[in-house]
Amino acid sequence: MMELSMSLLLPLTFLLPLAGTLILSLSNGRLGECASATVGVTSMGLAAIVTVLIALQYIAEPQAYGVTLWRWISVEDFQPSIGLALDGLSLTMLGIITGVGFLIHLFAAWYMQGEEGITRFYAYMNLFVFSMVLLVLGDNLLLLFFGWEGVGLCSYLLIGYYYEHSANGWAAFKAFIVTRTGDVFLAIGMFLLFFELGTLDIAEILRRAPEVWAEGDPTVELAALLMLGGAVGKSAQLPLHTWLADAMAGPTPVSALIHAATMVTAGVYLIARMNGIFLLAPDILELTGIIGALTLLMAGFAALAQTDIKRVLAYSTMSQIGYMFLALGAGAFDAAIFHLMTHAFFKALLFLSAGAVIVSCHHEQDMRRLGGLWRQLPLAYAGFIVGGSALAALPLVSAGFYSKDEILWQQLASGHGGLLLAGMVGAFLTSLYTVRLIILTFHGKPKSDNARNAEAGRGLVHGVPLIVLAVLSTFLGAWIDPPLENLLPAPAEGEESWHLVLELVAAGVAIAGIAVAAWLYLRRRGWLAKHTSMGWGAWLWTFWNHAWGIDELYDRVLVKPYRGLVRILRRDVIDGACNLFAKLAWLLHQGLSRTQTGKLRFYATSMVAGATLILLALALMP
């Protein structure tokens, strides 16, 4: 009986959001703002309830469940099917998606009041959750790819939601293209895996891989590298990260859901899910750690020099996911997923609070024009404080501390000294920019009339998500340990004494960061302003503001040549070449028509010349 109910519950998780999308999109305009909001939120609510039921059943008897709906394609030995597989990892992800997703949908109802096209908004949000659930529950790589691309499309649609300003449209376009390049790497990885192992089923792949390849075999290295490319594209890590900052053009609940909690963590989920392949390719795992470290440092510095609230949070997301990649690099898959969960909570909280601030200040996002809001917007301020502390990993009291500390400990345990150092510097930077964000936004004097007459949001829909997420961001959140027993490979062991020392050091770094930032931005704001406006300070500030200039680099190296090529080929050069034959024929015609002079003598002479030639030919012919 339990089996039957699970095979019924699992499909429900993605059918409900799909139903929500279909209702909203097929209603084309007849549903009012409130009706579409209710449809959107209830579908998410039901999905959350179903997930809770699944979780209860899973905890009752923790074993992998699987249900195959129908065989998708069957050609000779290419037999992918639409099948769902549930285990601890996907349950955790499912919980995050539907749980945090529901809270964000609720908050969005308040955030999007008065906006036109609410039906379209909720249709896309539900479609996004549908694809994300498929990505997480898919039992074979093709279905995972289905969710993978669906998520990319929905992020394109949602970033480009305010389509009137073409800048938003082009930001969405950029996001889709960059993630699509990542998807292409994943696709080639899939082709390679299918060709080598003959199957796409994830469990089957993990079982056959060790038999076919020895550790360090170049093919498995290539497959792992390609999958890493896909993960990097989707999780906005170093080479393919330029799209995340611009993706803030979408509404804030979108950034909360997509660019904090769910989509950007898809890369981490993929690597965790395909851990068998990555273990067979140790130096690719090493590379993952290095990418994570580089990204977290780059993003940390970049976040320091941003003026827009959401861009600071975007870069902070990038650096936190860098931490998760760091954990994966050290083989600590559990720690990565644990940090993923806590990060989903506090980052969603931060984004929603930012959303509350933005709406209250009449869509003012620039920190230089905000300030002194902590008295008018108490709930948002509380959200920022709790979220910020979790982000900065305030010891003992915040969830972030436990998860980030676990990652740093794994680095030490697995002997990655350099990465540990990067992690420490990253932690310091994180606390630095978090405190900067809170002080600039909430303390000091309000620097614009938008900030001055900001009225706080009211109503349950606004309050409940913030409070729930705030609670989850504290140490209570850290107690929810994801059901990952003996699912993912065991992390490295180090002796306990070093663990305690590391915890103290990490706590010290966090507190030091907070203190330095508070001192800098409360007392020495003048010194700071002076230093960042002249000489090397200004140059460094702008360099970090443009995220180390990588975006401009891509623009000059890739985008401009492509546009140039398109402009050159605009008039269909090859077709032009084919038209040359037509021109040739015309020229020939022109030349021959000149021989008709109309003069009798000319004709006579040409006839005689012809006759003589023929006679000569005959005479000289051997």
């Binding site: 021989t595 003069k599 009798l600 003598r601 006579a604 002479t605």
Partner: protein, 102 residues
């Protein structure tokens, strides 16, 4: 005297033919063109006669008769056209009538 070798006769005809041809080509006046034409026809007739007598066959002369009828017919039509040319274009220059230009 051993008689005239046939080649000489044919060479004579060839020379006459070539001269007529040259006359035809570099003259613009219609009268001269017709005259050169007559010369060419005549040389053709000569060639027939030389051939006929060399092989002792009467067909050569019979053929010559036909050449002459042809020459007569051609000359009369040519001259009639010449009259029309002169009448319409007020000149005998064949280049004037070149409206069939490409």
């Amino acid at each position: 005297m051993s008689g005239v070798p046939m080649e000489h006769g044919l060479v004579l005809a060839a020379m006459l033919f070539a001269l007529g041809l040259a006359g035809l080509m570099f003259r613009r006046n219609m009268v001269f063109i017709l005259m050169s034409l007559e010369i060419m026809l005549n040389s053709a007739g000569l060639a027939f006669i030389v051939g006929g007598t060399a092989w002792g066959q009467p067909e050569g002369q019979a053929m010559f008769l036909l050449v002459i009828t042809l020459a007569a017919a051609e000359a009369s039509v040519g001259l009639a056209l010449l009259l029309q040319l002169n009448n319409r274009f007020k000149t005998l220059d064949t280049d004037a009538a070149s409206r069939m230009r490409g």
